[in-house]
């Protein structure tokens, strides 16, 4: 048994337990955040070391450590580091349970990292639940009215979604006789046409529904605004980035490995994702127009971003064997992670001071906190997709993947939606720069938060100007196919 393949995850589990124990004895609670960040940096180091080792499988093919899994592990660890750095101010207000807060973030990071690396239905389910249950607790962590409401809604809807996913898995297992994705592929590959095995097709559709909940795609998006608004803001940031990235990792792995062949099947699920993509973009953007709360607005914006990402999934399905759909999703996820985290970190800093998430209360923020407002404006511009930002390159790349597979109607929908989205993103910028400040005092923030925000903004700018390196990596990243 090659346990060295699991060292990043094992290290993170150990760190999580250590943080919870250290909470009992350490007086200065910032040490806990430091400890968690060190654990995550070690995990990143180990992941890079495994990258050099080349692809391998563990536990009888249940887990596979290929470049694809390792790429997602880097994104997820990076997101967790930024979330923890931005939590330091926020968490210092908690009277108790700070260690559990960091510990749960680490545990859910482990779950998501395993999600990216599984190639078997049982382990997909377990790692998905490890990630989700930690997030349910974190969403309800504040225990006030809004936070527990967010926790309850997330838990009930999440549990229904995972039951639907499981029913789909049961059908796929039942009609193929195995839970290993590569062996399912062997069974599916011999199907004759859509009517040949309705049970298996129903299973696939139910799995799309279950995963659609994770990535917040329409029509499984109803939990998003409420949970995003009620959960602690750093957790909202974590949910919007990490949970979505892990969901896309699982979808790519399952659908390419197990259902990539025969061609008629992948054409059909490609079309399914194309329709969901158009719906998500439109619903997310149109409803975001009416929002007055910035966390809710970013929630709807993340539904819309899931729609743009699914253009890539549609391209993967329509053009099997062409890797551009997959690499455009990887690049989009990396740039979306930096951009969205940056926006949320700025929101955390501002709401710590003004104690409100209403967009109107951001009035005149450019004069009260010039750097914070600049960073937030920059991230919102990147979410809109205006150069010179990462969001612009990512959108061009993913739309190019769509056009290459004759999904012109979908790309046009996407472009129209980008124009709509400019209205509500830039409204925040306008309020910050042209509104009259409600008070004169500045917005203080800790060094950790400023570091995290600086890293995000720098990343967005660098990816916007010299995207070539990361695009090269994303294009080189391949699955380990059986």
């Amino acid at each position: 048994m090659n346990f060295d393949l699991l060292t990043p995850e094992l290290g993170l589990c150990g760190t999580a337990l250590l943080v919870i124990l250290a909470d009992l004895v350490v007086e200065r609670k910032t040490v806990l955040a430091g400890l968690s960040v060190v654990g995550l940096l070690v995990a990143i180091g180990l992941t890079l070391w495994l990258w050099g080792q080349g692809p391998a499988t563990a536990f009888g093919g249940m887990l596979v450590m290929d470049q694809f899994a390792l790429f997602f592990k880097l994104i997820l660890c990076g997101a967790a580091i930024l979330v923890i750095l931005s939590s330091v101010d926020y968490v210092s207000k908690f009277p108790r349970f700070q260690g559990e807060y960091y510990g749960l973030i680490l545990f859910s990071a482990v779950g998501m990292m395993l999600m990216a690396a599984t190639r078997e239905l049982v382990s997909i389910y377990i790692s998905l639940e490890l990630a989700s249950i930690s997030l349910y607790i974190l969403a309800g962590f504040l225990k006030d009215h809004r936070s527990s409401e967010a926790g309850l809604k997330y838990l009930l809807l999440g549990a229904v979604a995972s039951a639907v996913l499981l029913y789909g898995m049961a059908l796929v297992f039942g009609f193929s006789g195995t839970t290993h994705l590569d062996k399912i592929a062997g069974m599916v590959g011999s199907l004759e046409g859509l009517g040949a095995n309705p049970g298996l097709l129903l299973g696939i559709v139910l799995m799309v529904a279950g995963f659609g909940f994770k990535i917040a795609s329409v029509p499984f998006q109803m939990w998003v605004p409420d949970v995003y608004e009620g959960a602690p803001t750093p957790i909202t940031a974590y949910l919007s980035v990490a949970s979505k990235a892990a969901g896309f990792a699982v979808i790519l792995r399952v659908f390419i490995t197990a259902f990539g062949e025969p061609a008629w099947l992948s054409q059909n699920w490609g079309m399914l994702f194309a329709i969901l993509s158009a719906l998500s973009m439109t619903v997310g953007n149109v409803v975001a127009l009416a929002q007055g709360n910035i966390k809710r607005m970013l929630g709807y914006s993340s539904i819309a971003q899931a729609g743009y990402l699914m253009v890539g999934l549609a391209a993967v399905g329509r053009g099997p064997g062409d890797f551009i759909g997959q690499s455009s999703i990887l690049f989009f996820l990396a740039s979306y992670a930096l951009t969205n985290l940056g926006a949320f970190i700025a929101v955390i800093a501002i709401s710590n001071k003004v104690d409100s998430d209403l967009i109107d209360d951001y009035s005149g923020m450019a004069r009260r906190a010039p750097l914070l407002a600049l960073a937030l404006a920059f991230c919102l511009i990147s979410l809109t997709g205006i150069p010179p930002t990462a969001g612009f390159v990512a959108k061009i790349y993913i739309f190019y993947a769509g056009i290459k597979q004759d999904l012109l109607w979908l790309v046009i929908t996407g472009v129209i939606n980008s124009v709509i989205s400019a209205y509500y993103y830039l409204r925040v910028v306008r309020v910050m720069y042209l509104g009259a400040p409600a008070a004169e005092e500045g917005v203080p923030s800790s060094g950790a938060l400023r570091t995290a925000l600086g890293l995000c903004s720098l990343g967005v700018l660098v990816l916007g100007i010299v995207p070539g390196v990361l695009i090269g990596v994303a294009e080189a990243v391949k699955f380990l196919m059986p």
């Binding site: 239905l121 049982v122 389910y125 377990i126 639940e129 249950i133 349910y136 607790i137 309800g140 225990k143 006030d144 009215h145 809004r146 527990s148 409401e149 967010a150 926790g151 309850l152 809604k153 838990l155 009930l156 549990a159 229904v160 039951a163 639907v164 499981l166 029913y167 898995m169 049961a170 059908l171 297992f173 039942g174 006789g177 195995t178 839970t179 605004p225 409420d226 608004e229 009620g230 409803v287 009416a290 929002q291 809710r296």
Partner: protein, 101 residues
């Protein structure tokens, strides 16, 4: 009449539908959790039925994992419901509506 795979699948589909209906229609949060358990157990029946049909243990192992995770999920769910009950003396999901669009 012998009891075959299809009987288990029909039972599982019926139970799953009952659970899904209850989870979406019931107003008491505890009852919603119970309906989710029904859905998960419907999945377990299908898993075990398929497992026997193929002569494989995988489905049964999967069912054991589902039961374990369901227990953890129910524990977290009950904890959150207690937190809600303490703050507003009710577990009616219709009344949990501070946030709406």
């Amino acid at each position: 009449m012998t009891i075959g795979l299809e009987h288990y699948l029909i039972l599982s589909a019926v139970l799953f539908s009952i659970g899904l209906f209850g989870a979406l229609a019931k107003r008491n949060a505890v009852v919603v959790l119970m309906c989710i358990e029904i859905m998960l157990n419907a999945v377990n029946i299908a898993m075990v039925g398929f497992s026997r049909f193929w002569g494989l243990l995988t489905g049964q192992v999967f069912a054991v994992f589902i039961m374990t995770v369901a227990a953890a999920e129910a524990a977290v769910g009950i904890a959150i419901i207690i937190a809600i009950y303490r703050s507003r003396q009710s577990v009616d999901v219709g009344e949990v509506d501070l946030m709406k669009w």
